[in-house]
């Protein structure tokens, strides 16, 4: 069980996506998943070992690390990737349900895989809204938990059992900051793609409704 599962899941959704949806999948694969696995994971690999405090008091380092990193950046990043990809499952389930119904009633309900009408369109729109929602929630969470997207070199800690205010040094802060900004940039790009796909689908739907009404009027 690894990221390959997520990749297979998203590839399955590809068939039912719009053009913008496919671009979204490509961005998630290449700029988020691949960067996470190939580069970012290694940066945070030894973050606890390399977190150093200017004190010999046992337990002080552990307590300070836990205070400043309640949930590690890299774990939040992984959770974000999973949560953001999961709404696509709704579309997959809906299609599977439709195919099941078709088999039972022995008739084809849709002409082709690319058609999105009625129920499937609703499901697709809901999945888009959920994806955007999760992206925004995680970005806000990142911002609130870490007071912005900066990673300082030095943090001052005075929690028991540290005897007084102690200097603690974070490892590779600049590299972590660069990748955090990269994460934020790709998140924002994905939000923009989701919103434009949402507006495109809603616009297309209204045009279709309007045209149908216009044709009926003139018949």
């Amino acid at each position: 069980m690894s990221w390959g599962f997520l990749r297979d899941l998203l590839s399955g959704v590809n068939k039912y996506s719009t053009g913008i949806g496919r671009i979204w999948i490509a961005v998630v694969f290449l700029f988020r998943l691949l960067v996470y696995v190939a580069a970012a994971e290694d940066i945070w690999k030894d973050e606890h070992d390399e977190f150093e405090c200017n004190i010999k008091q046992p337990g002080c380092e552990n307590v300070c690390f836990d205070h400043f990193f309640p949930v590690s950046h890299i774990r939040l990043w992984a959770l974000q990737l999973i949560m953001v990809s999961t709404p696509s499952l709704l579309v997959v389930f809906h299609v599977a349900y439709q195919e099941n119904r078709e088999k039972r009633h022995n008739q084809k309900l849709y002409k082709s895989a690319g058609e999105r009408d009625g129920g499937l369109l609703c499901t697709y729109l809901v999945s888009l809204i959920l994806k955007t929602g999760f992206e925004i929630v995680f970005l806000v969470l990142f911002y609130k938990l870490y007071n912005g997207f900066e990673v300082p070199r030095l943090v001052k800690c005075d929690i028991r059992p540290c005897p007084n205010t102690v200097d603690c040094y974070i490892s590779k802060p600049t590299e972590k900051m660069i990748f955090l900004y990269f994460l934020v940039a790709t998140s924002c790009l994905c939000i923009v793609l989701n919103l434009s796909e949402l507006s495109y689908l809603i616009f297309k739907y209204f045009i279709k409704c309007y045209l149908n009404r216009y044709i009926k009027k003139h018949q």
Partner: protein
Amino acid sequence: MDWGALHTILGGVNKHSTSIGKIWLTVLFIFRIMILVVAAERVWGDEQDDFVCNTLQPGCKNVCYDHFFPISHIRLWALQLIFVSTPALLVAMHVAYRRHEKKRQFRKGDQKCEYKDIEEIRRQRFRIEGSLWWTYTSSIFFRLVFEAVFMYAFYFMYDGFRMPRLMKCNAWPCPNTVDCFVSRPTEKTVFTIFMIAVSSICILLNVAELCYLLAKFFLRKSKKAGNNKHHSNHENKEETKQNEMNELISDSCQNTVIGFTS
């Protein structure tokens, strides 16, 4: 999800590339991605653990390491490879879009497109002409830009491509100027120079491919102009336009493509 997945994605683009494009893809996978995964990652694996400073002051090593290596070589290479591979997706998307249009025409029962079945559309290899030419050329251009930007970033960040053995550091909290020693500097220098050399080869391949495509474009244009001049003695203007349109339609519905031999 790893570099293998990237290989699967880009492998599909290979079919529609020129011969130089195929060579570029091979160089990318064998001499850059494979070397990165199999060798370079091990060399840089213990870079912070074995980065040693001549001081007992806690925090000095962390701060000095961060000062000299804002972003590790290995991460920069990984980003470079991802960015350089991405423009090929533009071509993949364009081809997928064309296939989608052909399938739509086929389903409508259009007489102009002669395909036996959908499988033939899926297997068809498109010529690099018309709008696909523009997409392909832009993808090569973006590749070149990304390669150049990353090479410059390397040079700028590390003051050249050599890895020194010793670095002098006096960032706070180091009490004074402290000697810090990098682990495996020679091996890192060798791999850096190797990766830069292969990057340069990829840049040259991209430039050659660009020149090849431009030459083909101008040759095709002059051939068409020559044909038109010959025909205008016998036909009037409207018939010429109709002929061009017919050519364009028949070009876009060709069954087999033997445009570029491998």
